[in-house]
Amino acid sequence: MSTYNTSREEIAIVSFVELTPAEASQLDEIETIQTIVSRATDGAGIARDRIGFTVSGSCDMLVGRPFSWIMAMDGAGVSKPIEESHVEMDGAWALYEAWVRLQHGDIDAALIYSFGANAAEDLMQVLALQLDPYYLAPTGINAAEVAALQASAMLAGGATERQFAEVAVRAGLAVSVEAALAEPYTNRPLRASDLPRFSDGAVAMVIARGDYARSVCARPAWIQSMAHIADSHSLGVRDLSKAPSLEKAARLAGVGEKPTDLVEVHAPFGPQEVLAIEALRAAGLHGTAALNPSGGTRAAQSVMVAGLAAIGRAASAIHRGEASRTVGHASSGPALQHNLIAVLEERS
């Protein structure tokens, strides 16, 4: 048996759709899900009755309504009834659950969707509520301030603000490195171009097994492996200048086994992209590896969606025939606490 977290069954991402922020901002949750689910299934020639499992990822705190995901499920057509699950996390972890479910070998396909219609007035404050409620949340620290702590630790460890600025340029959030470095600090050492631009969004994906995957998709993005690891919840016991859980997940997923053509990283804050790439390289990432060619998820970041979006974009590159091996990354929790890696491959 492989030492890596590989698929036991042949499982591939066969369909992936994203809602544009402009579309998402017009719809409520049910309408959003109805739209993306029908595009990812009916629109891709995938029969609903071949889907044996449906799982979603979202967070009620974004809309401030308890169990909002249950009501939102109506958009997926659920009164048959269907076998269904939910993670109160980024949709990437819903994908992980679906991948595990498909390895039982008894169903053909699974539907995964994720949505983040942000209704909070101060999202940075909402995100801070995931901190531990005894020692950290009472300090009133918000998500941008946590990210600034991490960036400071990185600078102390040898990183440079120029590296942060380069990430901002790549994400389209600054016209040049010099322009980025000339910006005033918002949360020192972070500048506006290091922060996420939050937006509404939603994505849906279908994964399928073996022959069924081949029958609905010309170039399936086969999930070679997937792994996720978390660091401690407490910021105080972590070395914030490193992302050990990301590196370990990448090793478990066998990222360094073969050359990689493309990497899509989910780094909510700019400096975290520097950290994520370093961790991936330490885990053996090599090859031509285009970095976030989609522009990354920061320029229009939908919380709880961005991680699944990164993996979906890594799959789409294979669907389009632009790459034959890609790596998708999703993060969760404060300061890249929890990381998921998916290695996707084209197979002839």
Partner: protein, 169 residues
């Protein structure tokens, strides 16, 4: 207990951690139609083009078929209580003084029940199958809100047999 064996620190068993967040909800297209109807004191539902179920309030998709809703359907203000409960407990933000009745009202022509309050009668007179109609607030007070219907009141018509509403309970 001697001074020496007394615990120095008592266990902390509770901690106050108040959280306050502000949200701006988005109604979406379908609920917006319903709420605009409320402002005009009309009850607007929508029909599923696939299974012909009439939903009120309308929702973004038919939960059975998973498709977008079809035609709009203005529903009458009369209906039947399918099920109900009597609220005896006071709580913050309550609109009516307990005891009062919360009920599922199946509007005539609708396929799903609308959840609302029942007033204008003794709580002990409320029955499954009882005929009711919407009691609106004055035109000037109509809002983009379900509260434009103050509550439902008995019409005095004969009850509908339970067999007719059983599948909607």
């Amino acid at each position: 207990m001697s001074e020496a064996t007394k615990p120095v620190v008592k266990d902390v068993t509770t901690m106050a951690a108040p959280v306050s967040l502000k949200f701006r909800a988005r109604a979406g297209k379908d609920l917006s139609r319903f709420l605009r109807g409320m402002k005009e004191r009309r009850i607007v539902g929508r029909v599923c083009p696939s299974c012909n179920y009439v939903y009120v309030p309308p929702r973004g998709a038919c939960p059975t078929c998973g498709c977008p809703m079809g035609d709009e359907r203005v529903l009458p203000e009369t209906g039947t209580i399918t099920t109900f409960c009597i609220v005896n407990i006071p709580f913050e933000g309550q609109k009516l003084k307990p005891p009062y009745v919360c009920a599922s009202v199946l509007l005539d022509g609708a396929d799903v029940a609308l959840f609302h309050l029942v007033g204008g009668c003794d709580v002990n007179d409320v029955r499954m199958g009882m005929r009711v109609r919407a009691e609106w607030v004055d035109e000037a007070d109509a809002e983009l809100s379900l509260e434009t219907i103050r509550y439902f009141v008995p019409t005095g018509e004969p009850d509908r047999p339970l067999a007719q509403i059983r599948e909607h309970i």
